[in-house]
């Protein structure tokens, strides 16, 4: 009996202890919810009471570009008394993507964010994004058509262009002139080869200066496939269409140029290889490279020679993918937030903002009116290299639109490397990529 009583008290104590601990957990949980929820939920409440609508904007650019974005947001908030945008930096594209997805699952997502253009399909397909068609009402016609190709999914508008780039051919004009070549650079693949032959310098068997260098990256491979009249994916996006002439041509060009000592395959994974190519170019160890418009400001600042930018050389035709990120609206936001979000997206990408944004960041202006604006024209006159990317957009192709493209592009890139390092023939590599790719696309 005595034991029973004691057990009773123990159980009581246990229960009390438990509830205490649970209560502790509960309260912290609530506090957290309150502090994070703060960012979205009260927005609707204040909207009802006629205060400003609060929206969250997550961006993925650091450094000077991030600061420019913060300044733009500040300017927006000053000129829009009924909307308050809270901007937050969330790390690079991939980090931001993961955080956005986690926040959607947790129910405290931002209202506007940046999505890398080849991931728009994945986000739209999963219904994370809001269809912008009813908001934009034809207003999207102001954007440069070449930049809109990654904005649609199943015929609906999901994104507007924000920070956009294309690959360019960068040229060491002094080096080309010294070799008796046209300082405007090669216009075709054949010229790329013949120019490189004249730029190469050898000491014995060792190449001390290469003609050309490019990271073996999916982005440049896409460009070369487009230039050969092909495409990465079939029309319906269900199949990889690389195991053919246009898929093989880029690899044939690169392997041939590497084998003949004309091209340097820069070592390193992903962006490490890009850095190597740019460093070699600045150190005049290579005469021409492929890299993004985004590097123009930086390269121009550091180059100790006359540097030029040109279209990527053509095979059957000119061709280029675009890069960078678009602005999107999230489907889970409230109606009031969405309205405010569209207001903000429209403003951020409008001519008046995109001109200073382009000049400050090195990305392209996104509206056709911006390209023709006096400020932009004056800027281009000062350095015509900045205009090359915009001009090249007439040959722009969309990056492949398929929900699983992030994984697919890594699969393709690995096979490209295998072919470049001689671990597989071009046919084997492309067959491998096609096999793995079609499995992924069927998922």
């Amino acid at each position: 009996m005595k034991a029973m009583k004691k057990t009773g008290t123990i159980l009581c104590a246990l229960a009390l202890g438990l509830s205490g601990v649970l209560a502790g957990c509960g309260s912290t949980g609530k506090e957290q919810a309150a502090s994070t929820g703060n960012t979205t939920k009260p927005a609707t409440e204040t909207a009802a009471s006629n205060g400003p609508v609060e929206i969250d904007f997550w961006y993925a650019l650091g450094g000077v570009r991030g600061k420019t974005i913060e300044d733009m947001v500040k300017k927006f908030n000053e000129s829009h008394k009924d909307i308050k945008v809270k901007a937050a930096y969330q790390g690079a594209y991939q980090d931001n993507h993961s955080k956005v997805l986690a926040s959607v699952a947790a129910g405290n997502n931002p209202d506007v964010t940046m999505v890398e253009i080849a991931s728009i399909a994945a986000f739209a397909d999963a219904k994370v994004l809001e269809d912008l068609t009813p908001y934009s009402q034809g207003d999207e016609k102001k954007y440069i058509p070449g930049l809109m190709k990654n904005s649609y999914w199943k015929d609906k508008l999901y994104a507007v262009p924000f920070n956009r780039s294309t690959p360019l051919l960068y040229i060491n004009r002094d080096m080309l002139k010294a070799a008796g070549l046209d300082p405007n650079g090669p216009k075709s693949w054949d010229e790329l080869i013949s120019y490189s032959q004249k730029l190469v310098k050898k000491e014995g068997d060792k190449v001390t200066r290469y003609g050309f260098s490019t990271p073996v990256d999916i982005w440049f491979y896409e460009a070369l496939v487009f230039q050969s009249g092909g495409n990465i994916l079939s029309e319906d996006g269900k199949e990889l269409t690389l195991n053919n002439e246009s898929g093989k041509a880029p690899l044939e060009l690169w392997t041939k140029m590497v084998k003949e000592g004309l091209m340097k395959n820069p070592p390193g994974e992903n962006y490490n290889a890009w850095d190597v190519a740019e460093q070699d170019f600045l150190n005049q160890k290579v005469g021409m490279i492929f890299t993004t418009t985004g590097s123009l400001t930086e390269l121009k600042k550091n180059a100790k020679f006359d540097m030029g930018a040109a279209f990527l050389p053509a095979n059957k035709n000119f061709g280029t993918p675009t890069g960078g990120a678009n602005l999107v609206m999230l489907a889970k936001s409230s109606d009031a937030e969405k309205k405010a979000a569209w207001e903000f997206m429209k403003w951020m990408t409008d001519t008046e903002q995109t001109v200073p944004w382009s000049i400050a960041s090195g990305y392209m202006p996104v509206t056709t009116a911006a390209v023709d604006s006096p400020e932009m024209k004056a800027f281009y006159e000062k350095d015509p290299n900045f205009k090359v990317a915009v001009d090249q957009l007439q040959y722009g192709y969309p990056r492949p639109m398929a929900p699983g493209y992030k994984e697919l592009q890594d699969v393709i890139q690995k096979e490209l490397q295998r072919a470049m390092l001689g671990q597989a023939t071009i046919d084997e590599a492309l067959q491998n990529a096609t096999d793995k790719g079609s499995k992924l696309l069927k998922k």
Partner: protein
């Protein structure tokens, strides 16, 4: 921090056993028996919330087809994630890489640390300074270490190749070739780990009573016999501890891979934890990532269990 705590617990093992043996035989009343559980409740709740629940949840998720990008479309697929993973060539390579990396890193690191400890276990200022130098990599973050080594290993303007070429050897490919990338990562991790291991070994050496050595010296025991019959057996608990700790941390390598190679070139330096991250965070294949996590848990669990089973018999606790 966690490592340090476990290090302190080691010598206690004997005491715990002694207590267990001297447990009172009379049957205690209910209160006495339940009281410890009452005191443990808060800690247990934290354990359940932050350890058992996540483990259970990852096992559950590994049987689902789910994408991080579309959580509502979750579907029970049984063992499909596992069968697909095991059949995947890339995953097989990742597993092999992980095992090679783990055993090579632990083996080389422990061997070097042991020799260093034997050499540095002396009382002079110089040895103290060398000890501190060897230990210094341990306190630098893995991120800085990785950046530094990437720089050293640069095939063109890296210090390592400059040295090689200065003595007339050809430069090495380091991180840029599929055949050498994994080896380069092992080198960096060994360099990072040797200092800590050496320190623990020295502590172990100093806890061996001097009279045993005196007795051995009186018996004119040759140095190698002293080493194999006294030092190594007396040091075996330390070795055992370091082995387990090193194995677990090496099989979880992530920072060096993420910064130095990103699993490349062509997957040649990809390992389990990075693979899990890639599948989950880059490709949104939640089910795959969960299944790979469970496999990692099993591997580490089985290896640890095996070592406890076989090694613990050989380990000599004083």
């Amino acid at each position: 921090m966690r490592k340090a705590a476990t290090a302190h617990e080691l010598p206690d093992t004997g005491q715990v056993r002694a207590q267990a043996a001297s447990r009172p035989t009379s049957r205690p009343d209910m209160m006495t028996r339940l009281r410890p559980y009452l005191y443990l409740t808060p800690a247990m709740i934290c354990f359940i919330l932050f350890f058992f629940y996540p483990i259970g949840s990852i096992i559950y998720l590994s049987f689902q087809d789910w994408s991080l990008i579309n959580l509502e479309a979750m579907e029970w697929v049984g063992l499909q994630n596992y069968t697909e993973l095991v059949a995947d060539q890339e995953f097989q390579q990742v597993l092999t890489n992980t095992l090679v990396f783990t055993f090579a890193t632990v083996g080389i690191s422990l061997a070097i640390s042991f020799l260093l400890a034997l050499w540095l276990n002396k009382k002079a200022k110089m040895y103290g300074i060398i000890q501190a130098t060897v230990f210094s990599p341990h306190i630098i973050s893995f991120v800085s270490v990785s950046m530094l080594w990437m720089w050293l290993m640069d095939p063109q303007f890296g210090l390592l190749n400059a040295v090689l070429e200065a003595v007339g050897l050809p430069g090495y490919t380091w991180l840029t070739d599929p055949s050498s990338a994994l080896l380069s990562l092992i080198l960096v991790n060994v360099w990072k780990g040797v200092g800590y291991n050496t320190l623990i070994f020295i502590a172990g050496l100093q806890s061996i009573p001097g009279d045993i050595y005196e007795a051995a010296a009186l018996d004119r025991s040759p140095w190698w016999r002293t080493l194999t019959r006294i030092t190594i057996p007396m040091l075996s608990p330390t070795m055992f501890f370091l082995f387990i700790i090193n194995m677990i941390s090496s099989s979880h390598a992530f920072d060096t891979i993420a910064i130095m190679t990103q699993g490349g070139p062509i997957n040649s330096s990809n390992m389990l934890v990075y693979y899990i991250y890639e599948q989950g965070m880059d490709y949104y294949n939640g089910g795959f990532a969960a299944a790979a996590s469970v496999i990692l848990l099993l591997i580490v669990g089985v290896l640890t269990a095996l070592y406890f089973l076989f090694m613990s018999k050989r380990v000599h606790y004083r």
